[in-house]
Symmetry: C2
Subunit: 192 residues, 2 copies
């Protein structure tokens, strides 16, 4: 018997849930946000429409759930980067680089402004951005205490600077270009 | 007789055109993008609906025209800043500061992501952003030649860094905070 049958119902639900998110995002990528229907999603996931509706009421809710899963993954990657070995400056660099690469990867997904606008109406997204901001602010404060980051501008404002500057990674073509962006951003943060 | 009557028809048309844009933006600010109708716009502008339709087919087209007018104004402000007296470094600083203040002001208009998504579907907006990018890249290249800007990263990439970093002005509360943002951004550009 396949192992799946031995798992709990909760684990099975989680598998179906994740398969729905993946199928939906793939369809949106192929066809655009407005062209995707619940029937197509059910078909691509390999479940019935009635089952799909037990999980989600509409396409928008699925995409918000997908984005929530993405952001949770990003937060985990950023937290891990913040535990990087070395001094405060190296940890800060690891966090900034991770954030920049996340943005480069997101841009490669090629989502249009429709989807971005939809997701930004979601409260969860605002909450996640707040967490990312807090994580970065803490890494910057640690850098200030260690003398690696300038202390003439509040960590709060430096975090806003970093978050925006590193989003330029979305328009950069290569990994090298992203690393140069991180170096330039760090140049702005440096204690003088 | 009021002076208006002596003006050419073209000038009259321009006045009505601009009044429509202003009325529409004010209504969108008050009520949100989806709640605004052509009838409300005609009423607020003080013209008939039939006249309004001679100028614009729908609300979306009016908003794109309004945004085009805004961006033309921004480009003019940036060009003037680029002709600032002083050396290349001072001119660059003037351009960066102008761009940051433009973003702070735009954020205060309080437009939501719906409108942003709508405007970003417009080709004109892409063209204008390209012009702003080119203007900044030229100011940076001038800075590199003068030894004021680092030469280890292409001006093209530095321009992307600046444009994104300075958009943080949208979340900053004061003029002083924007000037600190410009200082931090310049720190990243500095030749070492």
């Amino acid at each position: 018997m396949p192992k799946l049958w031995n798992e709990t119902i909760e684990a099975h639900r989680r598998t179906v849930h994740d398969a729905i998110l993946d199928a939906t995002v793939e369809l949106v990528r192929e066809r655009g946000l407005l062209a995707v229907t619940m029937s197509q999603i059910a078909e691509k996931t390999g479940i019935g429409r009635a089952t799909l509706y037990k999980y989600f009421p509409d396409v928008e809710t699925i995409l918000v759930a997908w984005h929530g899963r993405q952001v949770a993954g990003h937060l985990e990657r950023l937290s891990r980067a913040g535990e990087h070995e070395g001094d405060a400056g190296q940890r800060l660099e690891a966090v900034l680089e991770t954030y920049a690469f996340i943005h480069q990867q997101m841009a490669r997904h090629g989502f249009g402004p429709d989807l971005v606008a939809l997701l930004h109406r979601s409260q969860d997204v605002g909450h996640a951005q707040h967490q990312i901001h807090a994580l970065l602010r803490d890494a910057l404060s640690e850098g200030v205490r260690a003398g690696a980051v300038r202390d003439d501008v509040a960590a709060e404002e430096l975090a806003a600077f970093c978050l925006h500057a590193l989003q330029a990674a979305a328009v950069l073509p290569s990994k090298d270009a992203v690393q140069r962006l991180v170096a330039v951003t760090l140049g702005g943060l440096r204690a003088r």
